[in-house]
Amino acid sequence: MSNHQVLEPAAGRVAGGRAAGARQLPRRILESQVGPFIGVGSVLVILLVVEAFVQSNFYEPGNLTNLGRALGVPLVLAAGMTLALLTGGVDLSIGSSLALSGTLYAKLYTGGTPPVPALVICLAFGLIVGFAINGFLIGRLNMSFFVVTLGTLSLFRGIVYLWTNSETISMYEDSLTQKIGNETTLGGHVPIALLIAVATVVAIYLMLRLTTFGRQIYAVGGNREAARLSGVRTDWVIAAVYAITGLCAALAAIMTIGRTASVDPKMGESLELNAAAAVLLGGVSLSGGSGSIWGAVLGVVFLEVLANALALAGTSTSWQLIVTGVILVVAVYLDRLRARANQG
């Protein structure tokens, strides 16, 4: 046992598992550490190779920059969603929460608040709303995450419509959100949104890996009662996780405002499903307690590359939706297969 590997999360099953046969090589791959990444990873590589031959414009710097810009919002949302799934829940409200935080920012900005304080207030708002509403109801009152976040999905969206009078607010004047959501740096090729998203992902990775809170998230998702009986404040852990998903939604709102230069009351709609699809695709278990954020990143990259390729090929939005739907189902099926392999 070397010092620093002693406390890795359980690395699949160690040999000698109970019910695998020699014929089940695929199963063994599914059980191993890379298992969750193999399916989506190999399909992504194939997709990237095919693009090189079929659509030469895919690898043009302009398109890659666009792809990077498009990755910002889904990466940030998926980073938060990963935490919710690790605790055995899902936050269905992040799309609406994004719109609500975005509307607050727009109202502050058009009301004359300088952009930087408005930004800080917006992020704090996302955090607090996630903690005090979703977090309190799910963590403290033990309500079902599904019912609660389905409810807040509707609630937040309704408030947004009321608050904006169902009208789009123009944000062309605001240079801060433009910078965050739309501009590039490092020679004009790297979108700032992508850098922020990567920083978010790395921060969440480090939190999961290096902090006690990170390990508590896994413990709560693996067995909430056992964690509680080990002195983990499970209600706080869960509330904090929904606070983070709210914060991520607020950050994604700022990026979205920058990209579209407006606040549309429909902004962020159904992004929660995309984020959940990406995270599941990356092998995070729907039942909680296992998975990694890198899988979620892979899932997001795959979905965005696919969307980009389909768009370049001139595929309609309808077909993009259909393909995404099929892939989500396949992802859940892979999760089942893995769960079954693990049960032996």
Binding site: V6, L7, A10, R13, G16, T212, F213, A227, S230, G231
Partner: protein, 528 residues
């Protein structure tokens, strides 16, 4: 409950005439079964005769359950033959085996919790009208008849999920009996059964034997083998080590055969154990008027540092409720003092802060995070003590894990191994290790050796005695009297949510404790 004519299968199985020794109903010959990394069974024989109750004994991991699954068609053997009445067969599935008269009731309850008792009993053959709708009245009568025949007092219209686990288990046995198997396999049927229900079950099984049904019986309570079985087959490490008539062996020999060494002493109190002096040792835990969940009340207990207090009582007497209340896992009233200071136990976190640890009876459901590694489970209760500003200290954590591996003799390939893959004994050691790692004043254990094999039991007993010797106060709630008689310095007996008596461990006997548990009356000898 069944006549020979109703038995399924070819009639030639019943050809043995009077005077001819009965042909073996089922034979397993030289069975081998390999799983990756494990030879689960090698060259195992098992013969089952008509109207015979065969006990299959062995430690956890000895291959008992695998053998039963081969017999019942869940696994296909890699080597050897399964023969019914001398004719080799290969079962493709449990349903196939059941059609040929071999039925297994596994350890895990297999019921439909959202359906009624009657629906479970008559599953797939509910009486129907001509319009294919269910005749509920007829179904209820039929279910009542089945339950009465087995001596079970359970209402047929109750949703099964609302019954206690042991009744669900009895229903799954009753359901299997409806299929009238020629060989009934019961894997740990009494694990969660209260004593009086064990009697009911045994009576039913003896009646089946009278009718010619063969029973294969597995239990962790060795005594049951001697009360019930005709013959015992012992497995060790996947191999067949003995086949004895029950009359020709005894419990000590059985344990020796199972473990491979003489462990008849595991339930004997160690001679060198010294009960902490009443005056000298300080009071670690004291409760007065403790009440919780409407199930226990007026509990006054005191445990000294270094003392082991046993809590005995029938199922439902409040043992587990008391254990959970002492840990703050359920809300309670009354006062609890730890080390002389009153503490408020609003949550497990409060209890842990006061120096109390808890090993719950449901290891997989509450004791461990099965998806996490051995290391994480061991350190889980100490996370708040290690590292700075919420960041983990990997060095401290791995030192703690290494230390626990050594001190508790945990057998696991590595700290990163998933706990789910370990044996029951090692899993239980990890639940205990979690608290030893933290260091505590009081350790409360509910059924500390449930589902743990004999060898690991002994290790756990020594471990607890070692902890006590170093000054930890230990409270053991257990349904196994022998365990309490071995471990406890004092035994408090509970009945209907109250402590009805207390005895010194060395003075208590099975009879005296049982008498208190049932009658609640004070025994003339040894009552404190």
């Amino acid at each position: 409950m069944t006549s020979d004519a109703e038995m399924q299968g070819p009639p030639r199985d019943r050809a043995a005439g009077p005077g001819v020794p009965p042909a073996p109903l089922v034979e397993l010959i030289s069975i081998g079964k390999h799983f990756p990394g494990v030879q689960a069974l090698s060259d195992v024989d098992l013969t089952i005769g008509t109207g015979e109750i065969v006990g299959v004994a062995g430690e956890n991991g000895s291959g008992k359950s695998t053998l039963m699954k081969v017999l019942a068609g869940s696994y296909q053997p890699d080597a050897g033959t399964v023969a019914i009445a001398g004719e080799p067969v290969a079962f493709s599935s449990p349903a196939d085996a059941l059609n040929r008269g071999i039925g297994l009731v596994a350890q895990e309850v297999q019921v439909h919790a959202d359906l009624t008792v009657a629906e479970n009993l008559l599953f797939g053959r509910m009486p129907r009208t001509r319009l294919r709708t269910i005749r509920w009245g007829a179904a209820r009568q039929e279910a009542e008849r089945i339950l009465a025949a087995l001596g079970l007092r359970i209402a047929p219209s109750v949703r099964l999920g609302r019954l206690p686990l042991y009744q669900q288990h009895l229903i799954s046995i009753a359901k299997m009996l409806q299929r009238r198997p020629r060989v009934l396999i019961l894997d740990e049927p009494t694990a969660s059964l209260p004593l009086d229900q064990v009697e009911t079950l045994m009576k039913a099984l003896r009646a089946l034997r009278q009718e010619g049904t063969a029973v294969v019986y597995i239990t962790h309570r060795l005594r049951e083998y001697f009360e019930l079985c005709d013959r015992l087959v012992v497995l060790r490490d996947g191999a067949h080590v003995a086949d004895r008539r029950v009359a020709e062996t005894n419990e000590d020999e059985l344990v020796e055969l199972m473990v491979g060494r003489n462990l008849s002493s595991i339930f004997v109190r160690p001679a060198d154990r010294v009960r902490p002096d009443d005056a000298g040792a300080d009071l670690a835990l004291r409760t007065s008027g403790l009440a919780a969940a409407g199930k226990i009340g007026g509990i006054d207990l005191a445990v000294r540092s270094g003392e082991i207090l046993g809590i005995a009582g029938q199922a439902g007497s409040g043992r587990s409720t008391l254990a959970r209340a002492l840990f703050g896992a359920i809300p309670s009233k009354g006062t609890v003092e730890v080390g002389g200071r009153p503490v408020r136990l609003r949550s497990p976190k409060d209890a842990i802060a006061a120096g109390i640890g808890f090993v719950p009876d449901d290891r997989k459901g509450q004791g461990l995070v099965l998806s996490a590694s051995v290391g994480e489970n061991i350190t889980m209760a100490s996370w708040d003590q290690m590292g700075r500003f919420g960041f983990r200290d990997f060095g401290d954590e791995s030192a703690l894990v290494r230390d626990s591996f050594e001190r508790l003799r945990i057998k696991a390939p590595a700290a990163t191994t998933c706990v789910d893959t370990l044996s029951g004994g090692n899993q239980q050691k990890i639940v205990i290790a979690k608290w030893v790692a933290r260091g505590l004043r009081v350790l409360i254990l509910d059924e500390p050796t449930r589902g743990v094999d004999v060898g690991a039991k002994d290790e756990i007993y020594r471990l607890l005695e070692g902890l006590a010797a170093r000054g930890t106060a230990i409270v053991v709630c257990s349904s196994e009297l022998l365990e309490l008689l071995r471990l406890a310095d004092r035994i408090a007996v509970m009945r209907r949510g109250r402590v009805v008596g207390e005895q010194l461990g060395e003075e208590a006997t099975e009879a005296s404790v049982t008498a208190m548990a049932f009658k609640g009356a004070r025994e003339p000898e040894g009552t404190v």
